[in-house]
């Protein structure tokens, strides 16, 4: 099948014209491989024969002239060391060693070998070149590189035998795998024997003549070396360097399949005019280029700018002169422009505008800033690796997509945004009162009435509460009382008031019970506090003459550690401002104290005593705490770190019962215990009522 380069229609093999559009097939616009010289369909990107990239497209126009590759277009990737063809300069120069020529020839491509053969090199290198041809090269191609001994006047390389036979017998006898250009090569060049080959591109010709320094910048190094003159080694045992040959001679060199980039001529196919569709497209391409250029003038050159030839960059300004070779494509000099020819410039339809790559900048629109180079890290010096958002030039299709995507959501978003903006600011928002359900609005009053009844009923009707006179048994309180009872007369007891006035109503009672038990035993009280308000609370207790109110010890656990280290110096003056005399107190350290009692409203205070003091001394520590922190302090009692524990009001009564089992309970104590009993009962009743309401609502759908 032959695919039409114009419309892509598949045509039968051997077709000369496309059956769809009439495009000439097989001999029209062709892409000549710069490496092997094979002709490829114009739409090919890589050579069918050798796989080389056909980037520098070479076309043959109507004039039969070969169109050089566009300056600046990407050249074939520099091959690796093994694949890289030996530069022409090196080949032209003498070998490094006398025996190195053959080895050097191993790296010479076949097309260069044929070039040597055509230039009439000495027989030895030619033979070596022929001998060193790779084994996979077919015989007929190997013969192609042989010197044209039999036909020295023949400008072209001798055709192999099969081609000679083919030339005599017709093309149908040629092997099928032979490419078209080889078919032409096998045929006698009778049509255009004097046709000079197309000259090399100016830049290469100039480079070959003037040296590497005149090479265009975009030429790779290996190609620059190719054209460099072998100044150091003029004794050339092999083929003469290209620069030694005048351009005319080079132009007259016979076609050997040398790539056109190097000034050689590939096998000449039948010259065809440029495809009509391509000629028509020329002005269109020019128009697009102008627009692109106009956009690029405003900003820096894009990343691909180095590949754009200079003449193309300045095309928009009109300062450039089109190469002659591109005349048929981009408009020959003197040819009227479409406007001059009376043609109206067609407007690109909107649906096609969407497909245009890149967005055309409006007039006055600022060009995107150049990508800053990275200043640190592994990307240092790299520009544009991490693109800035403003530098991204989205295509118009993206705008279209954005608009279409936003069409469905924008109204809703806009409405939401409007509503949000219309809301009053936080300063003007007044917190709305929490609406309590109607059925629960009487709850605070119910709780208030229950607690009020719990306080008033024991006062108004004492003895009404069942079990009001019974005092619960508490072993921690019994242990506490045992510690007091074991004190010897005159023993030093350190009593620390470590609670706040907020819990004084709860703790004052058990504290009084303990103090009242200590006084008759002749204990010497050393009263202190780790809270600033503690001394004031202690002062109102009526400590008696045997007690010394030492005052406030700052520093919390640090102060207690200081106290455990040495009692001396911990208190310089007492609560009354008098000098503290440790000798008179009979206490130099906590080891001299028989018992430590802390009345605390915080579990942390008890912990400080246990950790900082209990670990330093063997003095037993007892605690009087509020009922709220008893669960947190209980572990210290269970472990023995607290010798006794009294918890709250009930704990005080339990202590009294343990210390004085025969002591009668006063009416005031009875009323207090009954009030506390009713208060606890009220809380339990509220819990039960709450759960009844909750489960009634769940089970009966809120009828409760």
């Amino acid at each position: 099948m032959i695919y039409c380069p114009n419309c892509g229609t598949a045509n039968r093999d051997g077709s000369s014209f496309c059956n769809q559009c009439g495009q000439r097939l097989g001999g029209g616009s062709k892409a000549i491989c710069p490496f092997c010289g094979a002709e490829n369909p114009i739409e090919n990107i890589f050579c069918d024969a050798c796989g080389a990239k056909l980037a520098p497209l070479v076309t043959r126009g109507a004039e039969g002239k070969e169109k050089p590759g566009l300056k600046g277009l990407s050249l074939p990737t520099k091959p690796t060391e093994e694949e890289e063809p030996a530069p022409l300069g090196e080949k032209a120069g003498p070998p490094q060693e006398p025996t190195g020529a053959a080895g050097e020839e191993e790296e010479i491509p076949d097309w260069l070998a044929r070039l040597r053969a055509s230039l009439g090199e000495t027989a030895e290198p030619e033979r070596e070149a022929s001998e060193e041809m790779p084994e996979e090269v077919p015989d007929w191609l190997r013969d192609l590189g042989a010197p044209p001994v039999e036909e020295p006047e023949e400008p072209v390389a001798p055709a192999p035998e099969e081609f000679a036979a083919a030339a005599a017998g017709g093309a149908e006898e040629m092997p099928e795998e032979v490419p078209d250009w080889l078919r032409d090569l096998g045929a006698p060049p009778v049509e255009e024997p004097e046709e000079p080959v197309a000259p090399a591109p100016e830049e290469f010709a100039a480079a070959a003549a003037g040296g590497a320094e005149e090479m265009p910048e975009e030429v790779p190094d290996w190609l620059r070396d190719l054209g460099a003159p072998p100044v150091e080694e003029p004794e050339e045992p092999v083929a003469p360097a290209p620069e030694e040959a005048p351009p005319e001679a080079e132009a007259e060199a016979p076609a050997t399949g040398v790539p056109a980039l190097l000034g050689g001529e590939p096998p000449a196919p039948a010259e065809e005019p440029l495809a009509a569709w391509l000629q028509e497209e020329g002005p269109v391409i020019l128009e697009l280029s102008e627009e692109e250029m106009a956009g690029e003038e405003a900003g820096p050159a894009p990343a691909s700018a180095p590949q754009v030839p200079a003449w193309l960059e300045t095309l928009a300004s009109g300062a450039a002169v089109l190469p002659e070779e591109l005349g048929p494509v981009l408009g020959a000099p003197g040819k009227p422009t479409p406007e001059e020819a009376g043609l109206e410039r067609a407007a690109i339809p909107s649906w096609l505008e969407v497909l245009r790559p890149g967005r055309k900048r409006e007039e006055g629109e600022e060009a995107p800033a150049e990508e800053p180079a990275e200043t640190e890290g592994v990307l240092e010096g790299v520009r544009g690796a991490l693109r800035l958002v403003p530098a991204i030039d989205p295509g118009p299709d993206q705008f279209v997509r954005a608009v279409s995507a936003a069409a469905t959501v924008t109204p809703a978003h806009a409405e939401t945004l409007t509503q949000v903006l219309a809301r009053p600011t936080a300063a003007s928002v007044r917190p709305r009162a929490v609406r309590i359900p109607r059925r629960e609005r009487g709850l605070p009053w119910l709780a208030f009435l229950l607690l009020l009844a719990a306080v008033l009923i024991p006062v108004l009707a004492p003895g009404l509460v069942p079990g009001g006179g019974q005092v619960p048994v508490a072993k921690p309180a019994e242990d506490f009382a045992a510690q007091i009872q074991n004190l010897a007369p005159g023993a030093r007891v350190l009593f620390s008031f470590d609670y706040d006035p907020s819990v004084s109503t709860e703790l004052d009672w058990p504290v009084r019970e303990v103090l009242d038990d200590l006084k008759p035993r002749g204990a010497v009280l050393l009263v202190m506090s780790t809270t600033p308000t503690g001394p004031g609370l202690a002062a109102r207790m009526g400590l008696g003459n045997t007690a010394t109110l030492l005052g406030y010890l700052p520093g919390q656990e640090m102060g207690l550690q200081r106290l455990a280290t040495s009692f001396s110096g911990a208190f310089l003056v007492d609560y009354q401002g008098k000098q503290v005399d440790e000798t008179a107190l009979g206490v130099q350290s906590l080891g001299d104290v028989a018992l430590i009692i802390t009345a605390a409203s915080s579990q942390d205070t008890v912990r400080w005593w246990v950790e900082q003091v209990g670990s330093q001394t063997h003095t037993p520590i007892c605690a009087i705490v509020s009922g709220a922190i008893e669960p947190s302090v209980r572990p210290y009692y269970s472990s023995g770190q607290l010798a006794g524990l009294v918890s709250g009001w009930v704990g005080g009564l339990a202590y009294r019962r343990a210390a004085s089992p025969d002591a009668p309970m006063s009416a005031q104590d009875m009323a207090a215990m009954e009030a506390q009993s009713l208060g606890h009962l009220a809380v339990v009743v509220l819990i039960v009522l709450g759960n009844l309401a909750y489960w009634g609502k769940r089970l009966f759908g809120g009828r409760s």
């Binding site: 109503t505 009713l678 709450g690």
Partner: protein, 209 residues
Amino acid sequence: MKVKFGRSLAVAITIGTGLLVLANFFVRNEYLRRVQQTLLDWAMILAAVALLLGALNVIATHLRKIRGRQPGWVYSLFLLAALGTVVLLGFSDPRGVASPAVSWVFLYVHVPLQATIFALTAFFIASAAYRAFRVRSVDSFIMLVAGVIVLLGQVPLGQAIWDRIAAAKDWILTYPSTAGARGIILGVALGTILTGLRVLLGIDRPHVK
């Protein structure tokens, strides 16, 4: 460099001070004890100064509120007036805080007010008992039963309802409650050890930031 040296010096002082205080727990040495005692005295003085700084901060804050006529500035005015009055009363008597005037303010203003405010929590507790203490799962039911037992086991009324409720309360407080509380205490202790080691090793430097 200067800053680095200062920080390093602060960290070195911290580590040295901490090790000296810590060593006194393991080594019985009179010199170490005196050094530790001196350091703890300094700490107590600094704590007292911090209390003074707190009072100054309260004054500055409420003065700013009064100057700006911010909402509730009148209360700030009363606060500063009360504070100044107590301070003047204290400095006007050589006995200081033990003077009769300061004791009167403390006993008949400060203590009743704080006790009253704390007593209001009884109403909040009662309301919360109705609203929040709901049985929604087996766990909450167990907690509810335990709470009721402890509540009633604390008071004589509970014993009148069930004579073994006090024993049940003691069992709950001695075993399940103690187990949980001990776990918390052990966690706090481990955290304290870890924090102390991090500060002593210079890993955490909250004091030099």
